[in-house]
């Protein structure tokens, strides 16, 4: 289009080219400016363009031209033009081409024309854009200029008009002189520019008139130009909205279109530039309209709340933490809670972000049923689900040796299968915070003892009052504690201290450590190896120092033996005993802990970093692997969750029954489970004991003679058969050592040394 040519014309003044164009540092901004803006004659106006040429070329060529445009008439025209959608689009389209053409040859050719006017208009246009870019990218929507349009609205094609309009002298030239162009910065920027997205450019043009009028000096423009985080973010967001220019979508947690307000709010908080804000607002408010398609992603919906919350929370949370009394917090939370209950999803747009406490409480009052979507959907009546669960519980309970205890949870877990006790421990632990205290929000529905349908509401109602009161903290936690009690854990560690977020006196490090005090009477239960996958099994075996065995059965057998030898047989068989008294025995602790807890919470950031590594320390119960709670006072701080044993795969029933309440907390789960600290390996004991080798020898000799096809191990050795250590180890551990009443077990490595010291040719099984 002609516009393109126009611009080119501007840039080309033959005289100046040599001096001004190429080298950025060479420019003398002041001098140039002085000349360019005022003189209507071609050369001076040209010069600035020339100056900025490099910039324009890149993407800012508007910037360069800006100075001349200040006149009203021009602006008007420009605005007209810009307002005309077609023209606008045309311009935007043109630009790339123009750029391409620009090279010096064209300039020179155009020099003859040297019409200041077109140039100026052009420049103004561009400058506006630039402005917008810099300050507010939101520009597209805004059409502030509408009022101004009146006079020149008739002009046909923007291009022609531009050329025809008379030139005017810019009054603003003075500004430049005063402010200076600050070209150094510009040149620097120019070095690493990235082409603007098409979008941003043409959008900008529309609303910018106002800004310029406000009297930013050109120098300001230049100096301000640069990466502006706000603007850029806005622009990005916009880009994501319309798929036009780029198909890429910016990855953002919250879709700005969905929750523009919130976003804005957050931005506002950070605001540095007040002026820009003003402009932003209008533009943003309009934005949502422009977005025709609303993107509803679950993630966006969910996270949006927090986004909003962010802004509010920063204030509120800070207040909260500083708040002296528990009461205030609770009261607050209560109020919020009321709202929150209604909240569900009915009115999303004005979702209320609950205070953490309130959220927790609301959760508490909520019945949670877990299942797959299909499951949940199928059971349209909640009662059926509950009944089912109850039925399952009942059935499991029948198996139980123990008479029914008051606490259903306990009964179930202990009784179901003794082997699962470990697992249950995990679950119960999972519902605890870092201090071993319970996370409170979950309401436990007593499914078994009550007629399922009727009971549930009752339970819920019961809990409600408690939680809302101050006292509640301890009481429910204790009761829950009971229910969750794992026999294997010692009470104090698990005690759910009431969440008193107040005084954080203790040192953070200490606080985090403290929970590490390990349950004294830990009774590990044998993991259910049969539930393991083959690979798991083999790794387990490897941990015991044995080579992998192919046969799954053997692996399990071996592991069980290994385990038994490690922990003593008695333990494996003892079903965990529920300790119901435990909670009462330690009334004091909670309060004390509470104080510490808070400290932990505050120092979450620190502890977080260190925490994950801890659980990996082997063998010993790792010191507090701090699972960090979000900084919410109402939550009892999460404490290390540690499974000293390999976990069993929880039976499906566990999933259904233990909705781990922690799910809803953004608790960072430390990788405690994978670490799986290995309990003391028996091998270290056994290998060191001197007589084991002799025992092996004895065992070998004790074996009854074999047949030619199945020689005994002794015979194999005698016959110079290479002894496959893996098999040998298995035999010894399963049969051989039993022959001589030896309880210990041997590993292949030890066997190797045994063999080698006796000159018995041995090898490991080759992997086939």
């Amino acid at each position: 289009m002609s516009t393109g040519t126009d611009i080119i014309v501007l840039s080309s003044s033959p005289d100046h080219i040599p001096t001004r164009t190429p080298a950025p540092p060479a420019y003398d901004p002041v001098k140039l400016f002085g000349l360019s803006p005022r003189s209507p004659s071609p050369p001076p106006p040209l010069s600035p363009t020339e100056l900025f040429r490099p910039a324009t070329r890149s993407r800012f060529f508007p910037v360069a031209d800006k100075p001349p445009q200040t006149e009203k008439g021009e602006e008007r025209t420009v605005k007209e033009i810009t307002n005309l959608p077609k023209f606008n689009s045309a311009l935007s389209e043109e630009k790339p081409k123009r750029r391409g053409r620009k090279p010096a040859s064209e300039k020179s050719e155009n020099a003859s024309k040297t019409k200041a006017a077109p140039r100026k208009k052009r420049t103004e246009n561009t400058t506006k854009r630039e402005n917008t870019v810099n300050q507010i990218l939101t520009g597209r929507v805004a059409k502030p200029g509408s009022t101004q349009l009146s006079t020149s609205g008739n002009k046909d094609t923007g291009v022609l008009n531009l050329e025809t309009t008379p030139e005017r002298k810019s009054t603003r030239g003075a500004d430049w002189e005063h402010g200076g162009l600050q070209l150094e910065a510009a040149m620097k920027r120019r070095m690493d520019w990235t082409p603007p997205s098409k979008d941003s450019m043409h959008i900008v043009g529309l609303d910018e008139g106002g800004v310029q009028k406000e009297g930013h000096g050109f120098g300001d423009l230049l100096s301000e130009y640069g990466f502006n985080s706000e603007v850029s973010s806005c622009s990005n967001a916009r880009v994501s909205g319309d798929d036009g220019p780029t198909k890429r979508r910016r990855i953002e947690l919250v879709d700005p279109r969905l929750y523009p307000a919130s976003k804005q709010a957050s931005h506002d908080a950070e605001d540095k530039m007040s002026t820009e804000d003003e402009q932003q607002r209008p533009s943003k408010s309009k934005k949502p309209k422009a977005q025709t398609k609303k993107m509803n992603t679950i993630t966006a919906r969910v996270t949006a709340r927090y986004l909003n919350e962010l802004s509010e929370n920063t204030d509120s949370s800070s207040k909260e933490t500083s708040a002296p009394g528990e009461d205030s917090a609770i009261g607050k939370s209560q109020t919020v809670k009321r709202k929150s209950k209604a909240k569900p999803k009915a009115h999303e747009p004005d979702f209320v972000v609950l205070s953490p406490e309130a959220a927790a409480k609301s959760l508490e009052n909520q019945d949670l049923i877990f299942g797959t979507c299909s499951q949940l959907e199928r059971e349209d009546s909640p009662t059926t689900l509950r009944e089912m669960q109850a039925a399952i519980l009942e059935s499991e309970r029948c198996v139980a040796t123990e008479p029914s205890s008051v606490i259903t949870r306990d009964v179930r877990s202990t009784t179901t299968v003794s082997r699962f006790s470990k697992t249950r421990g995990l679950w119960s632990v999972a519902s605890r915070d870092s201090e071993g205290s319970l996370v409170q929000q979950a309401e436990i529905i007593d499914l078994v003892d009550s007629p399922p349908t009727s009971k549930v509401p009752v339970a819920a109602s019961n809990n409600r009052p408690k939680t809302s009161t101050k006292i509640d903290d301890r009481a429910p936690s204790l009761s829950q504690d009971q229910t969750f009690r794992t026999p294997t854990e010692d009470p104090p560690a698990r005690r759910a201290p009431s969440p008193k977020p107040r005084k954080a006196a203790a040192k953070p490090s200490r606080a985090s450590r403290e929970p590490s005090s390990r349950p004294t009477g830990e009774q590990p239960t044998m993991p259910q190896y049969s539930g393991f996958t083959d690979t798991e099994l083999s790794t387990q075996i490897a941990k015991y120092g044995f080579k992998a065995i192919k046969n799954r059965k053997k692996m399990i057998e071996m592991l069980q033996k290994c385990w038994e030898s490690q922990h003593g047989k008695s333990m494996s068989t003892i079903p965990p005993v529920s300790q119901e008294k435990a909670p009462t025995s330690e009334p004091q602790i909670p309060s004390e802990k509470a104080t510490r807890k808070t400290t932990t919470r505050k120092t979450t950031a620190k502890s977080k970093t260190s925490a994950p590594s801890k659980p990996k320390s082997q063998k010993n119960p790792p010191p507090a692997t701090a699972v960090i709670t979000p900084p919410r006072p109402s939550f009892i701080d999460v404490e290390e969750i540690q499974d000293s044993e390999e976990e069993t795969i929880p039976s499906p029933s566990h999933y259904t029954f233990h909705p781990p309440t922690t799910k809803h907390l953004p608790i960072s789960t430390t990788p405690s489970s994978p670490s799986r600290p290995r309990a003391k390996t028996s091998r270290s004991k056994t290998t060191t004991s001197p007589d084991l080798a002799e025992q092996i020898t004895k065992a070998v000799r004790a074996q009854v003679p074999g047949t030619p096809s199945r020689p005994s191990w002794h015979e194999k050795i005698i016959m110079y058969d290479p002894i496959v250590l893996d098999d040998f180890a298995i035999w010894l551990n399963t049969e051989g050592l039993n022959l001589i009443g030896e309880d210990r077990e041997v590993g292949a490595a030890f066997l190797r040394s045994w063999c080698e010291s006796r000159g018995v040719c041995c090898c490991f099984r080759q992997s086939h």
């Binding site: 003679p705 047949t707 030619p708 005698i718 016959m719 110079y720 058969d721 098999d727 006796r758 018995v760």
Partner: protein, 403 residues
């Protein structure tokens, strides 16, 4: 657990050795390998026969075997030794501390040498180093229990060995025989059971040298009459029990494996010891080499086909020469009849001939596939015969161990 194992186990090979190969052109070029068939392997190295000898296929031919360590009771054993010899720095059996523990009294020389062998001693490069390592290996706890023999074919290697033996702390176990052969001056005592063979080419890598024993044992155990363990005096059933037969030509003593080994071990007065080295036959009072007995036992129990092949061959050679009682294999046995020596001599000659079809099964992978094509009529159909691939595999492995 044993069943997995059983299918794999092979009889004790007739011959398996590790060898130190040296270029006759350039003496600094050395190579350690292992083979059940040294003549053929050497031919491979020298390019005379086909087969993997990649590292030795160069202008350093011809190669010679300076030392061989023989008597390995399984391929695994040989490969372990080979590996340790090749990579002394990595072998656990060459741990310097172990050297220390083996040596009763520290000597200045030994100390210095020991320091010269730090834990991570690299692959030896010189003949001397190899000899030293061999020495150390044979003294190591692991290998010193093995019924090995060292056979020197070149005098300078033996010279180095002798010097080193004098210098180093710790002696080679007595049961490990040192045989001077080939170019070495003959100072073997006659009748020690470590006969010279003269050259690598005359090593007899098959069971033919114990064919007499094999035959006798087969004959003896075939007797349906009462077979009694000469120690526990209990009837034995060769099908159900592991029974050993005295290798002595005219001794028909049979024993339970465990009985005999217990008897032998008792005589050693080493309660920790599990495998006897040798012992005195309860009946004929001759000294019996344990490995030999085991060779027969395992061959009888596990290498039926092989055994039959050997017996057939034996018969044939018997047909040719009237009395073929080769007692060569029985180490302790003075050949009662001087006849067999000549016979066996011819026997090997046959064996040496590469074209001899009967020799075929005894190439390097014989252990993998026993007599695949010969004697099919007598073959045990149950025995799977993985022929082709295993052969290739072995050749490669063998060729790869270059120093």
């Amino acid at each position: 657990m044993a069943n997995v194992y059983d299918g794999v186990v092979k009889p004790i090979p007739a011959f398996y050795c590790c060898y130190l190969l040296r270029s006759t052109v350039r003496h600094s070029s050395l190579y350690i390998g292992s083979t059940p068939h040294p003549p053929r392997r050497l031919a491979q190295h020298n390019g005379v026969a086909k087969g993997g000898a990649r590292k030795t296929a160069n202008d350093k031919r011809p190669w010679e075997m300076t030392v061989i360590v023989e008597g390995f009771t399984s391929r695994v054993a040989a490969l372990q030794f080979e590996w340790a010899w090749q990579k002394p720095g990595l072998s656990r059996h060459l741990d310097p501390n172990q050297d220390e523990s083996n040596s009763t009294e520290p000597q200045p020389h030994a100390d210095s040498t020991r320091q010269a062998k730090p834990r991570a001693r690299g692959p030896a490069r010189s003949l001397k180093k190899h000899i030293e390592n061999l020495h150390a290996l044979l003294r190591s706890t692991y290998f010193s229990h093995w019924p090995l023999k060292v056979r020197f074919f070149s005098a300078d290697a033996y010279q180095l060995w002798r010097i080193w033996s004098d210098r180093v702390n710790g002696a080679i176990p007595k049961h490990i025989g040192i045989i001077l052969d080939g170019g070495c001056a003959d100072d073997n005592q006659p009748g020690t059971g470590n006969p010279r063979v003269g050259s690598v080419q005359q090593i007899q890598p098959d069971y033919s040298k114990i064919s007499g024993y094999l035959e006798k044992a087969a004959f003896r155990l075939d007797d349906p009459g009462d077979l009694r363990c000469s120690i526990c005096r209990v009837l034995v059933d060769p099908k159900d029990e592991l029974v050993v037969v005295c290798p002595q030509e005219r001794c028909y003593c049979i024993n339970h494996l465990l009985c005999l080994s217990a008897r032998f071990l008792d005589s050693t007065r080493d309660p920790e010891r599990l495998v006897p080295m040798s012992g005195t036959c309860p009946e004929c009072r001759q000294i019996v080499e344990w490995p030999l007995v085991m060779q027969e036992l395992t061959l009888r129990n596990r290498g039926k086909k092989e055994l039959e092949a050997v017996l057939r061959k034996k018969k044939r050679s018997d047909g040719r020469t009237i009395a073929a009682q080769s007692d060569i294999g029985t180490a302790a046995v003075e050949t009662r009849g001087s006849l067999p020596s000549a016979d066996t001599q011819t026997g090997w000659k046959d064996g040496l001939d590469e074209n001899n079809p009967e020799d075929f099964p005894l190439d390097e992978d014989w252990i993998e596939s026993l007599a695949p094509e010969s004697d099919s009529e007598m073959g045990d159909p149950q025995r799977p015969l993985p022929v082709g691939p295993s052969r290739v595999e072995i050749v490669i492995e063998d060729s790869d161990c270059d120093e």
